[in-house]
Point group: C2
Chain length 640, copies 2
Amino acid sequence: MTKPEIEPGTAGCEVTFQPLGRRIVVTAGTTLLEAGRRAGLLLCGGCGGVGICGRCRVSVSSGNMFPPDEEERDFLAAGSYSPGTRLACEARVASSVTVEAPLSSFPSGQRLQVEGDVAVTAHDPIVKAYQLQLCPPSLDDSRSDYRRVADALDAVAGHTDWEMLPGAASCFSSLARKGRWDLNAYTRRQQVIGFANCGMNPVGVAVDVGCTKIAVYLVDLCTGAELAASGTPNPQIPYGEDLISRLVYAAASTEKAKSLAVMVRECILQVCAKLCDSSHIIKEQIADICVVGNTAMMHLLLNLPVAQLLSAPFVASIDRDVDIPASDLGWQFAPGAQVHVLPSIGGFVGADHVAMIMARNIDRCEKLTVGLDIGTNTEIVVRDPGTGSFLTTSVPSGPVFEGGHVSHGMRAASGAIEKVYSLNGNLRYTTIDGTKPIGICGSGTVDLLAELRRIRCVDERGHLSKTHALVESGRSGARFLVAPAADTGHGRDIVLTQQDITQVQLAKAAIFAGIETLLQLTGVSPDDVQQLVVAGAFGSYLDLRSAVSIGMLPRFQNAEYLQVGNAAGAGAKLALVSKSERERARKIAEKAKRIELKQYAIFDRSMARATRFPELRSLISHAASQLPVSVQDEARSGSD
Amino acid sequence: MTKPEIEPGTAGCEVTFQPLGRRIVVTAGTTLLEAGRRAGLLLCGGCGGVGICGRCRVSVSSGNMFPPDEEERDFLAAGSYSPGTRLACEARVASSVTVEAPLSSFPSGQRLQVEGDVAVTAHDPIVKAYQLQLCPPSLDDSRSDYRRVADALDAVAGHTDWEMLPGAASCFSSLARKGRWDLNAYTRRQQVIGFANCGMNPVGVAVDVGCTKIAVYLVDLCTGAELAASGTPNPQIPYGEDLISRLVYAAASTEKAKSLAVMVRECILQVCAKLCDSSHIIKEQIADICVVGNTAMMHLLLNLPVAQLLSAPFVASIDRDVDIPASDLGWQFAPGAQVHVLPSIGGFVGADHVAMIMARNIDRCEKLTVGLDIGTNTEIVVRDPGTGSFLTTSVPSGPVFEGGHVSHGMRAASGAIEKVYSLNGNLRYTTIDGTKPIGICGSGTVDLLAELRRIRCVDERGHLSKTHALVESGRSGARFLVAPAADTGHGRDIVLTQQDITQVQLAKAAIFAGIETLLQLTGVSPDDVQQLVVAGAFGSYLDLRSAVSIGMLPRFQNAEYLQVGNAAGAGAKLALVSKSERERARKIAEKAKRIELKQYAIFDRSMARATRFPELRSLISHAASQLPVSVQDEARSGSD
């Protein structure tokens, strides 16, 4: 066993995919699957890049690759392939290369977007705009402003009996009396909610309030086009890294609850202002807002009571969708701008999960699907289109995957070790922004444990091998040296302790057992699962092969694994531009049944089994390293 | 011509009405009509006490009365009556008296309330309360608060698909988690808008925002019972006595407009708080608010644009009914409390006029009706049930009747001369609160001019007789000495100048011409009018005989004249307790047509004629005074 070379590097390699001719520059050590993903090509075979199916075969026609490891060789040995054939999910580039990836080489055909089967919806926003050409009042025509507008709308909108909000009346008067009698009226159902100059379309805002990150999207409500998007850290973080801490803070007093609400409302408002600036939109154009988020975040945003979320049976205050004036949240947009908060399923299975189900078509899909959003709480859905069974749950997976409860854990920010892999028996890592490491984020922790298992430095029960060169015994138990002080950004060792591993085991076991329990309650076997969807920010950076190999996700023989990014935000955008999608979200919330896992003994048993690591499939290859291995990931920065 | 004895007095006389046995104490000089009114008996005959029909005959069986004047004697001479027969509208008490007033002596039968034919409505408030008996959550029943409430409402309310406002959810949680799982849910349509302990009914607030006075009524929404009522001066008065001045102030800047809005909103809130205290209501019980007022007041309350109300063609911003959350006006009542502002007809014909029409059933009545609310602007309605013609208008009658534009004019407050009458050729007056006079309010001004005409001190063109003992010539023209400095509260003469009279002529002519024009446009003659309704605070203190004799109101031979008090407030209360009345108000606003008088030459011609005073019917009686004549009105105080 050689000492792993763990240091960041900078070499760049151009990968060209033929026959499409797509090109992308990546760092040495990147898999072809990952390079393809960045180029907009989904190269995974049947399994989604989890290393299960062995079908993501491509042919490297020029350039140098790292040699295949034992696992890849096992797959390739099982068929008779031309020289240069590699598995995209395993093969790592060592120089600029050209890859043959014909459409026909993939069972489901070539797909050209990362997001996969995002639901497509009829464009039918609740807020509409009508261009009106009005005459100014005269002695012969002394209709009120309201009547003048209502009569004009009657003619163009095909219905009558309009209401006009006082704020909209003021807006109308100030525009019209500057001589602008041709203008755009914004309406919601039969309510006139605002006015703008001709050509200024109403704009919608979709918001996904995550525990750590808030994603905001501006959408033109007339065209459905996304105008701008931005993410920002949740300003509540200082009041609790995880949602339970924040709920405890909010439950302490109405003032504290209110302060957390105001904090996140103002943050969203600021992001909107920034996006408006960059898109040349005025805030009075914002006429509709759709918000999703987990149950805790929605309760805090709406300033709903939270104490009851902190003790069994963990009931939500409101789980139905909520419509309130934007001004109630302190947002001064178009006079009648409304906020629509999507419904939640119950308990901690929140609106973000409903949005994810909607965006990924899980409620309509013909495949038996497992969907999950991994975080402090991991929400899981299992839907069987055959029987109509539609179960959801939320497991408390803890903050491990967000950098909490791990000695050198950190959020996915600059300097975090985010990927760990082995080449020729040596462990290597990449950091966000390519800087010297200062800690390990969730995806790095999962990778690290997967590799430690491969090199047998950790056994099935999670015990560190005391005999490994990089394992030392400290006062508080054994620990693995990930990066020595000399290599780190802060001049201190970065280690993974025995306790850290125990925390990961508990977290990954909760997720695994949650999935297993829902499948049992659905009455299907793991082999029946046809699709596993991993949503959310952490989920999209997670190496699914690592997740499967440490037993965080089950190894479904017949499933396609999909990483779908911020599906919750995509769902919020759907609801923003379509009335029927809001109705659909309500139906999802009604039909999906929330399972309280604590009530099932099978969950406890599954959890106990799942804390162990799965058996190893193969030993790590011991072939010698031939190329620089310290790599840098150019696609991700700490500000993501 | 003797010098009029004009000084306040205090003598009290008990008037007993038989066979009903009603008793009331009044001051000497009070007419039997007025005494009856205060005792709850409407003693007027066919005309409503205007001195036209001569049918309000009663028999005085004991006690002393002032002798009949010439007008009364003329009427009595036309029939053959037993001794002691008097006209209730003319005869004034001189001591305690007993009056025979059998029900049969009145054409329309005895009516027992002052307000007359107030519309009665089905009790069907938009806000309802449901008593719920809930179980607390448990592991077997982890429904959300919302779902728990919605399920219970489904069972008792007969419909489903409830919404719950975030504020209501907080309210529920705080009640329920104090152990009160049996509670009252307040709903508006399918929205859950608040909660209260069992037995605490939702309460509605009806508000009539007048230019000078704001009237507020608390109503139990479950029973329809009025719980409390109060009036308070409009706090905007310092920013303009009349509504035009206030509109000018508000039009100057958005800050000024906002400040007027906040002023009146806070005033209403304070009155509500006071009424809640006195009725043992908590403010969270207030769940619905209905507001009426003239167009200007409603624009200021809602902070609607007003500049366009200040120049032709004087268009309203919104004339439809408006529904907005109470919190938008800064009113924190039940979480989902809403404000409903009744619709207006257009221009200055506002929601108060619609409410008056509704409360007095003018839209449904079988009689050809003229209705008016006299103020700075006087709104007039003429409805002909035969043809369905339904015309309204607003005439700028100026502030004369509210004490403005008259040298010693004042608001109806303590020390105002409010009634003037002649006994035996001497002018007498009463003041509000019986104090020494400090000015003349509107009703006093009308009375004074009527009496000055009677004593021929003013001619048909309005010129003061230079030869009258009490008329003196000042630098700015002739003036009549109403009260010498020695008799007044401030030690200065109180006079009525020639210019004052001109102002009254213009004001009364505008009202008269407005009525006449609407009648002409309706295509009916004055003799067709069956009912004249005078609403509003000023209208209820106005002496209708004086108003007719100065030509402010036409002399309709076949009409009943009714003074109906705050009919606008009564209309607001109807809309508060009945959804269908809100619908009816909207229909009134749609059906009634607003006439812009400036567009009709007949209005100008009528106005020119009506500035003259009508010819005198008879000379004043010269019989000697026999009793103390300075009187005090105990029924009215300056705080009214």
